[in-house]
């Protein structure tokens, strides 16, 4: 049983009151173990890109940190307290595809949902909440679409609405699942800008993405999640031609089907790395 440590996350000088700590986290769906004893420390102001193959556990990692799927083992603490008691400090943005965009709500209605954790049960939304909603819509460049039914928006615009909802939660940790998938360049720019702002405000951002290049631009650290292997490091180290060729080998994907256990700290060249030109077209060649 390997215990994989995602080391090097927290910057020096940060105590547990400033960090998101994942220790020995394991998650299984039925008999299939998706995450195996993963540990990480991520400090304020850090942006972590979670990359890896489909079904490798990117979404699972985010959901486990959000506390919405049962953990097999391990624990997640935020600022020194269990994540379950810190719900209002975490904003989770699911993949855009899981939602029915035909739903009869406007863009502003969706962003207002993000205010839910900040408003008490009996108190209706206040003027301040509406101000926050408009401000967040403005920050993603969607203010003029506030009263549009969400189904009439383009994919990129829908993604911005989702980002705005996460922002409206005014959380300390943002968990963004595939915010860069299937969107146009201008939306990607907006998302990148928002992430940069979050970093400067000392927020913690976990960003699951297929887009290695975008991840390398936006993130301080990269976390490659495969079925059996997890590799973690500063972007400069991870995002070099050499490392990526080792990890992804060009248009390559990490699979967890290797028979021997993966080495403790990340990948060994040639192990857990598998060429896959046919199966996964969503993985881009670095730099493309």
């Amino acid at each position: 049983m390997q215990a994989l440590n995602l080391i090097g996350g927290a910057a020096t000088g940060m105590g547990p009151e400033d960090t998101l700590i994942v220790s020995d986290l394991s998650v299984a769906y039925g008999r299939r173990v998706v995450l195996r004893k993963v540990s990480a420390e991520i400090g304020r102001g850090q942006v972590v890109g979670v990359v890896g193959p489909n079904g490798g556990g990117k979404s699972t990692l985010l959901k486990a940190v959000a506390g919405i799927i049962p953990r097999l083992s391990g624990e997640v603490t935020l600022f020194g307290r269990p994540i379950a008691s810190q719900r209002s400090k975490v904003a989770f943005m699911p993949q855009r595809e899981i939602v029915d965009w035909d739903f009869p709500v406007t863009a502003a209605d969706v962003v207002m949902m993000g205010r839910y954790p900040r408003t008490s049960w009996l108190h209706r939304t206040q003027r301040y909440d509406h101000e926050v909603v408009d401000e967040m819509l403005d920050r993603v460049g969607m203010l003029e679409y506030r009263d549009r039914q969400i189904g009439s928006l383009s994919g990129g615009q829908q993604q911005r609405i989702f980002v705005a909802r996460a922002l409206a939660q005014e959380a300390d940790v943002l968990l963004l699942d595939e915010p860069m998938t299937g969107i146009d360049a201008s939306t990607q720019e907006v998302v990148m800008k928002i992430i940069e702002e979050q970093r400067q405000q000392g927020k913690i951002v976990l960003l699951a993405t297929h887009d290695l290049f975008a991840a390398s631009c936006a993130c301080d650290c990269l976390c490659c999640v495969g079925e059996r292997a997890v590799s973690f490091g500063p972007t400069e180290e991870m995002y070099t031609e050499e490392t990526l060729t080792e990890v992804f080998g060009g248009p390559v994907i990490i699979l967890g089907q290797q028979s021997e256990p993966a080495p403790a700290h990340g990948y060994m060249p040639g192990h857990g790395v598998h060429h896959e030109h046919e199966h996964d077209h969503t993985h881009e060649t670095p730099g493309s």
């Binding site: 959901k63 989770f92 939602v99 009869p104 209605d109 969706v110 949902m113 839910y116 039914q149 939660q169």
Partner: protein
């Protein structure tokens, strides 16, 4: 003018018609409102399952000489719990399990009631409703249950909205989705109980789905949709009741037919989403395209041959 007035006023001379009128108004308003969530969350199958599973509860209560509403409610709670546990998050996969369950429960009801002497008459009134037989007691029960359902929708509207639109985000915000699901199913059960007198066990699902589906065609806003759906439910109930009186046909069936008719009309004529309007809009747009055309690409074959230098 007088004849139209008489058409409505005449039946109301009878007390049983007055009671029936109150009963269908209550039923229409509550089914319409709850139906919005049934439609938006794709719960029509589960609504159908609930109404069938409640049937043996009615029969048992009837055979024991107790209130059929109590019997229905008891089985409604039981089945809501079972469905929430079975179907949480994996609704599609558990379809057959729910199908097996509700068909079996319904069969149990049939077998039980076949032991009664007035078999066919009783069966008909449970299955297809008997709104003209509504008592004051029925009306109070409907009003009370209706109030509970409407209060639930008002108090939990934000939770219902978030869970219906984006379950995962709702869960991550700390909403107890399991309990919201269970409560919603319980409210659907209550609504089915309210509708037993008016349209009966079989046609309840029509009142849960049709007005809401109609309202969805007319608006893109959830609050408007709920109000419209309620209004359509009430309207269908009233018109159906009066038609059934004058034509001397079954009230429950007529009410559902009117609702279906309203859906058909709206489906054809609704602004934006209606069949005819969307055709008109298409024509208008295609007329406004203008004369100029943009050539994106011309195949080399049809280009004129290059002039010799």
């Amino acid at each position: 003018m007088d004849t139209v007035f008489d058409w409505f006023a005449d039946p109301l001379r009878y007390e049983f018609m007055q009671r029936a009128l109150v009963e269908v108004v209550l039923m229409g308003a509550v089914t319409g409102a709850v139906g919005t969530y049934v439609v938006l969350r794709g719960l029509s199958f589960i609504g159908d399952a609930l109404s069938h599973a409640i049937f043996p509860g009615i029969v048992v209560a009837y055979l024991l000489g107790r209130s059929i509403f109590l019997g229905a409610m008891a089985f409604g709670i039981l089945t809501s719990g079972a469905i929430t546990v079975v179907a949480t998050n994996r609704r599609i996969k558990e379809d057959s399990a729910i199908g097996v369950l509700f068909a079996g429960m319904f069969a149990l009801g049939i077998v039980l009631i076949s032991s009664s002497r007035n078999f066919s008459r009783d069966l008909a009134s449970f299955l297809f409703g008997n709104v003209l037989g509504a008592t004051m007691n029925d009306i109070w029960i409907s009003a009370g249950a209706g109030l509970v359902v409407i209060l639930f929708l008002l108090l939990f509207h934000r939770e219902l909205l978030i869970v219906s639109f984006d379950r995962l985000a709702g869960e991550s915000m700390g909403i107890k989705v399991f309990w919201i699901d269970l409560l919603l199913l319980l409210m659907i059960s209550l609504t089915i109980v309210i509708s037993l007198r008016a349209v009966g066990n079989i046609l309840v699902v029509a009142m849960l789905v049709t007005p809401a589906a109609t309202a969805r065609l007319m608006t893109d806003r959830l609050p408007t949709m709920i109000l419209l759906s309620s209004a359509i439910g009430v309207l269908s109930g009233l018109i159906g009741l009066f038609i059934s009186y004058h034509a001397d046909v079954a009230a429950g069936g007529t009410i559902v037919l009117v609702a279906t008719g309203v859906f058909g009309v709206v489906w054809l004529f609704a602004p934006e989403h209606g069949l005819i309007m969307s055709k008109l809009i298409r024509r208008q747009i295609s007329d406004s395209l203008g004369e100029e055309s943009t050539v994106l690409f011309e195949s080399p074959q049809i280009l004129p041959p290059r002039r010799q230098a």
